[in-house]
């Protein structure tokens, strides 16, 4: 079924799925990398109300990925948009018929298409991390800050684990987008609902209903993105979100495998 993934990549190489999201990712990453380094201070100003970015943090072993971690939420929403659009436009273009006539095993088709999208997310995160580290390296150099800790064993471990965590997190956010698209068969509706849920509804629920933060999928994925946090350990969070996806994804695939496909 590698053919399904190769087929998916023909579509994913379109400008709307490659240059636009990758361009936005690079732009956001540069912005969120360069500006903090330029505004970093060696000693916090006690009069300042803002939480300062300290040079000591930047030169630390995890400094290479500080900016990447800061901007990942935006990149995750870009991935959600792409996953949702990739699934829903097959309905709006009518091309879902072409796929199903050639590959009647619907669940298998959709799972391998999802793997194709996951590989796209890996490339996005790779570019994201590389741009973050390289632009950070250059900017740190212009400011005369040391980056020797970045490439020590601990620093490289941070970079590697950040890549894995962010890839997982982006893929998890985006998978919710593709599940919505499979259920709603509409790009606009699935993207709108997906983004509204993660950016607005979860924040409102978290603020208004105590205890929900630990159970809301967006918060759990954020825990995963950081390799675990106070709310959830990495593996606990991953297991919990995998449960959400198994239930929602399983239900949507069950419907997809049985439903009539007609224009």
């Amino acid at each position: 079924m590698i053919g399904v993934i190769r087929s998916e990549w023909v579509k994913l190489r379109r400008p709307a799925y490659l240059w636009v999201p990758f361009g936005l990712t690079i732009a956001f990453t540069l912005l969120f990398t360069i500006v903090p380094i330029l505004s970093a201070v060696r000693v916090p100003d006690p009069k300042s109300r803002r939480e300062p970015i300290l040079v000591s943090d930047l030169t630390d072993s995890h400094g290479a990925v500080l900016s990447v971690n800061a901007v990942y939420g935006l990149i995750a929403m870009i991935a959600l948009v792409i996953f949702a659009a990739a699934v829903a436009t097959e309905y709006s273009n009518g091309t879902i018929r072409n796929l199903l006539i050639r590959e009647p095993r619907r669940v298998r088709l959709m799972l391998f298409r999802w793997l194709g999208l996951i590989s796209w997310a890996a490339l996005l995160v790779f570019v994201f991390v590389v741009v973050g580290v390289v632009s950070g390296l250059v900017t740190m150099g212009t400011q005369g800050y040391s980056t020797s800790e970045w490439f020590g064993s601990s620093g490289l471990q941070h970079i590697g684990s950040t890549f894995i965590y962010l890839w997982l997190a982006l893929s998890l956010f985006a998978t919710f987008g593709s599940i919505l698209a499979l259920l709603l068969k509409s790009s606009v509706a699935s993207i709108g609902i997906g983004i509204a849920w993660f950016l607005i509804v979860e924040n409102l629920l978290g603020a208004l209903v105590s205890g929900t933060n630990d159970w809301l999928p967006g918060n759990i994925i954020t825990s995963v993105a950081h390799g675990g946090d106070d709310a959830h350990g990495f593996w606990d969070g991953l297991a919990l979100i995998a449960g959400y996806i198994a239930v929602l994804g399983g239900a949507s695939l069950a419907l997809f495998s049985r439903n009539d496909v007609s224009s």
Partner: protein, 307 residues
Amino acid sequence: MEAANANLAVDLTGLSKVYGTRRVVDSLDLNIRRGSICGLVGPNGAGKTTAIRMVLGLIGRDEGDGLVLGHQLDDRIGYLPKVGALIEGPAFTPSLSARKNLLVLTRLIGLEDTRADEVLQQVGLGDRMTDKAKTYSLGMRQRLGIAAALLTSPELLVLDEPTNGLDPAGIREIRDLLRALADSGVAVLVSSHLLGELQAICDDIVVIDNGKVGYSGSVQGIIAGQSSQVVARPADPGQLQALQSLAQRFGTATVYDNGTVGFDGEQDQAAELNKAAFEAGILLSGLGIVRPTLEQAFFAMTEGDDQ
């Protein structure tokens, strides 16, 4: 069972689809011989596309059974790789070139990329294969849809309105292509509203009306059930009524808006009418036999049933 029907690419019995209380397809029997072109006709909403969708596995069926290319209807994995289809119009990703649209499919089913180039040449799009699908005319998109259907060198080709949007030369090309494919052993199922076109290319015809089969058999068979018409035109339009009265002796004569009189008959009746008109002092400026058409047979069968 398979051996007994080896000559049939499609051998379905009692196919039904129910939406709510409405039987959209009602106990449809469908037989398509290998190496033949079968036309599927019916008024809008008759159930043609629903029947095709069921054969292609896009929608489930409520009743019915049978074989497609020797495989049970439920065994879609067995027969769909040998089926090519263009249904409900050509569907493509507009921002991809024609070639890349086909590469999506060749890679999905594990064909060589060169197969896309071959079928694009076959349908006359070789020079425009790198153009984006969104720049294609309706006729070109139609050709692209047919190219996609041909990718797998199918044993059964299902085409829904294949000549829609094509110019006369394009229609002839597709007609020749379908005939060549049928001659090579491919079973072709064509759904169309262009009855003249179906009459020209089809060996067999299935008429569906209100979800049920109204006729299933050869094109000659359905036409044979209709009569030829003798049609005469008086040189003086003022003699139209007199000509009608004269023609009544051969059968029920009808005056048409185009200034002619017609009745069911053959050459003998035409000759007799000519003689009688001459004797009655009616000069005819036109006299001929109109052979029955598929369209005539279709309307005779479905008249009054169209919603």
